[in-house]
């Protein structure tokens, strides 16, 4: 039953994909300014701009351009970057793992911070501990990502010298070390979102009748916490995490710039400023697929944690 569900959901990605494809193709071309001008800069003559646009096939009518784009896409070709003159697929394959690493790292750090603190805040609700935890994360939530990033860089990177200032590093260990500060930046932001919701979820479970019943049965609080409360808290965490993956990738755009990380976030920003149509299109499609997959995984995990969920 699960297999058919997954297959059905995967098939559903295809129309989403097609819609995004058409939408991004049109939106990108609605932007004022053309790629040739963006690449050639202020000084190019009109003839050179026109010639470049012709070479890039941008002088063709929109439907023709779209058909070429769609045809190439079906054969797995995202085209070449206009400014970098290399295949978009190669750029994405080079850079996507970096952003995914950072995103997962940030999610793990975020959950590791949020889970125990949310439970603690819930268990000790309305005490000073609860107040401090909620207060700190409330402040964290209202600080802009770039500001937190710079503060962490200055303190833990430059002043104390504990972590490198930016870069990606070599090998798994190197990535973990180099990406710690950016992952922490994003993780703090995520934790701030999670703590609030998790705390109320835990409180809800703690006051639920079955927990009262378990307590009355003489079950130890630790067991209650791990068996009932955490399991239920995880359900909401997973859903929230899934919903926040998009935000995390958005946050990665800023963190990747501040921390000089060669991920897709920065690639996207450069591509938009440079009106590099194929790169923008390729990345948007990649994001669409990724987010669809994350939602699917979220639902599956949700079902796993909560047997009441019906997958259909």
């Amino acid at each position: 039953m699960h297999t058919t569900y997954v297959l059905k959901r995967l098939l559903q990605i295809i129309p989403t994909f097609l819609a995004v494809m058409l939408l991004v193709f049109l939106l990108v071309r609605l932007l004022p300014g053309d790629p040739a001008s963006a690449i050639l800069g202020d000084r190019a003559t009109t003839e050179i701009v026109e010639r470049t646009n012709r070479e890039l096939g941008l002088d063709q009518p929109l439907p023709v351009q779209f058909l070429i784009f769609a045809r190439n896409l079906l054969s797995g070709d995202l085209g070449d970057s206009i400014s970098l003159k290399v295949p978009v697929m190669r750029l994405i394959l080079e850079r996507l793992p970096v952003t995914l690493f950072l995103t997962v790292y940030a999610a793990v750090l975020g959950v590791l911070m949020a889970l125990p603190l949310a439970v603690l805040a819930a268990v000790r609700r309305n005490t000073w501990i609860d107040g401090v935890i909620r207060g700190v994360f409330q402040v964290g939530l209202s600080l802009p990502v770039f500001y937190v990033a710079l503060q962490l860089l200055t303190l833990l990177g430059a002043r104390l010298g504990w972590f490198p200032i930016g870069g990606y590093g070599e090998g798994f260990g190197g990535h973990l070390y180099h990406l710690f500060l950016p992952a922490l930046t994003l993780g703090l932001n995520l934790a701030a979102v999670l703590v609030r919701t998790l705390r109320s979820a835990v409180i809800e479970v703690l006051t639920a009748e079955y927990v009262e019943f378990a307590r009355a049965k003489g079950m130890r609080p630790r067991v209650i916490l791990s068996r009932h409360v955490l399991r239920n808290a995880l359900i909401s965490t997973v859903t929230l995490l899934g919903l926040n993956i998009g935000a995390l990738i958005g946050g990665a755009v800023i963190t990747e710039t501040v921390f000089a990380i060669p991920g897709v976030g920065r690639l996207m920003v450069d591509a938009i400023f440079g009106r590099d149509y194929p790169v923008i299109q390729g990345l948007t499609l990649t994001f669409a697929v990724l987010v669809s997959l994350v939602f699917l995984m979220t639902d599956l995990l949700h079902a796993r944690l909560d047997p009441r969920t019906e997958l259909s």
Binding site: L31, P32, G33, D34, S37, A38, I39, L40, G41, D42, R43, A44, T45, T46, I48, V49, R51, E55, S83, L84, K85, V86, L91, E94, R95, L150, L153, T154, G157, A158, G161, P164, I165, G166, G167, Y168, T257, V258, F259, A260, P262, R266, L267, D270, F273, G274, R275
Partner: protein
């Protein structure tokens, strides 16, 4: 010879020896760039991001001097023009090699220049347009010209005239020149001081020393001194500075001018302000009507002059460049060859501005809009200061913030009233900036719409004038006419701010922007 003079001589000898011994070889210099290169082909590229790396990979027949004002021998040890100015003969140095060890011949030179001068070859081909044909024999390359061309030595010292290995390039996969260029640019081989070893796009680029480089260092051995240069891409200004201060970088470019004073005080750093050719100005639309058909006050020369006089450059230099800039007095920078030192520009004179404006139909002022680049703190600081300055003569300045591509699209369509803009030269000659700023037929004087028949004529003459004195007088006149017509608001010149660790020696960024790592070395 008495003892004293002998001792002096010995001391002098010792000093000169110790001076050359002081140069240490080896090591890697890590340099922080604000953005990565795009495409490393000298002919088909366009961005400064590429040019400033290309000059390390490829050599040209002639080279710009470090002060940016002249030309010196490069791959060619000698060059001479015939008396009628229609032939130039260049002699290659003996034993030149590309970075893979293969010989660099006159045939490579002919092929490279032929490729660079064909009209399809990108935006730069016009710099070599005067060449009619090229002949190569032995060590000699002869250029036959359509007309005498005083700009040719400077053009031959410019990146697009780089000499490439014909055999390797034509052997690269691809159906045509553009495709071969794509393949070759992945692993370019030139004869410059360095060769590309590794390039992780958006992250870093490593250049290692070219063991076959022809130029000798102070110790008599081949340059460069460094084993390699590693460029780290760090787009955020603050991060670049933090990394430099933490010793993870040895040099960092594009230091924000707001932080220059602070870094000058840092005992570990040399905060360098290299003279550049960068001029910043406000481009005005000089046409009688705007794109939407409405009347344009800026078409009146007295209005444009009034705005120039009402602009307090010294104050702007303090506000925007934190005192690092200097007043712009000609449309070309003071580092440009044939810059006229007698140019007055527009000194701040509010009374004159009021009088000029008072003589027009805009006595009580008018509203004018200016396009700024969104996100540029400099543009915003500049324009808000100018808002106040111009308010004093009744001119209301409306700031329109647009992203760079939109801004470009708007002024390309002549759909603007004013816009911020900066310029740097790529060629060691005043002709480049003049074709753009003052000659209508190229791009309508950077889309200002300014047109002067006299400038057009003078410029055409100057493009064939072999006497430097006469050429200088033509350029003096061009600069004067331009200033009187005031198609732009003259602002300031700014340097290239580069911060280096104290242990870095011998690095220089020349006014054209080229980063010269060949003579750089690190203290042990």
């Amino acid at each position: 010879m008495n003892r004293l003079s002998r001792a002096t001589l010995a001391l002098a000898a010792a000093l000169s020896v110790s001076h050359s011994l002081a140069v240490t070889r080896g090591g890697q210099l890590v340099y922080g760039r604000y953005a990565d290169s795009l495409f490393l082909d000298p002919v088909l590229n366009d961005a400064n991001l590429d040019i400033w790396i290309l000059t390390n990979l490829y050599d040209t027949l002639l080279q710009p001097t470090s002060d940016g004002k002249g030309v010196q021998p490069g791959l060619a040890s000698r060059y001479a023009a015939s008396s009628d100015g229609k032939t130039m003969t260049l002699t290659l140095r003996p034993g030149l090699k590309f970075a893979d060890g293969s010989p660099l011949t006159a045939a490579d030179v002919k092929w490279s220049l032929d490729r660079a001068r064909q009209p399809e070859a990108g935006a730069w081909s016009s710099s070599l347009a005067s060449i009619d044909s090229i002949a190569a024999s032995g060590q000699t390359v002869t250029l036959k010209l359509k007309r005498p061309d005083p700009t040719l030595p400077a053009a031959l010292a410019t990146f697009n005239a780089a000499i490439m290995p014909q055999k390797l390039f034509t052997a690269a996969p691809g159906k045509n020149d553009a495709e071969k260029a794509k393949a070759f640019a992945e692993k370019p081989i030139g004869s410059g001081p360095f060769v590309l070893q590794e390039w992780k796009r958006g992250s870093y680029m490593v250049l290692k020393r070219n063991p076959y480089y022809w130029k000798k260092g102070e110790d008599g051995k081949a340059l460069p001194y460094l084993d390699s240069v590693r460029f780290e891409i760090i787009p955020d200004d603050n991060t670049r500075i933090l990394k430099l201060q933490a010793g993870e970088l040895q040099g960092a470019e594009f230091i924000p001018l707001s932080r220059v004073a602070e870094l000058k005080r840092d005992p570990k750093l040399d905060m360098m302000l290299y003279p550049s050719t960068k001029v910043s100005s406000i481009f005005m639309n000089n046409r009688p009507t705007l794109k939407n058909g409405s009347e344009n006050p800026l078409s009146d020369v007295r209005v444009r002059q009034a705005l120039n006089y009402a602009t307090n450059k010294d104050a702007l230099i303090q506000v925007v460049t934190f005192g690092t800039g200097k007043v712009m007095k000609s449309f070309m920078s003071s580092t440009t060859p044939l810059y006229d030192t007698n140019q007055k520009g527009f000194p701040y004179d509010l009374a004159k501005a009021k009088a000029l404006l008072g003589a027009t139909k805009y006595k009580s002022g008018f509203e004018v809009s200016v396009m700024a680049t969104s996100g540029s703190a400099d543009d915003l600081a500049l324009l808000t200061a100018m808002q106040q300055m111009w308010a004093a003569i009744g001119v209301k300045l409306k700031i329109e913030q647009l992203d760079a591509a939109t801004k470009t699209a708007r002024y390309r369509a002549n759909d603007f009233q004013m816009r911020t803009g900066a310029w740097t030269n790529d060629i060691n000659d005043p002709s480049q900036i003049t074709t753009y700023f003052a000659v209508y037929d190229n791009i309508e004087s950077v889309h200002t719409g300014f047109k002067s028949a006299e400038i057009d004529k003078l410029f055409e003459q100057s493009q064939q004038e072999l006497s430097r004195v006469k050429r200088a007088s033509q350029y003096r006149r061009i600069q004067t006419i331009y200033q009187q017509a005031a198609p732009i608001v003259y602002l300031y010149e700014t340097p290239y701010p580069v911060a280096l660790l104290k242990k870095v020696n011998g690095f220089v960024q020349i006014p054209l922007g080229n980063n010269i790592f060949a003579g750089a070395w690190l203290d042990k």
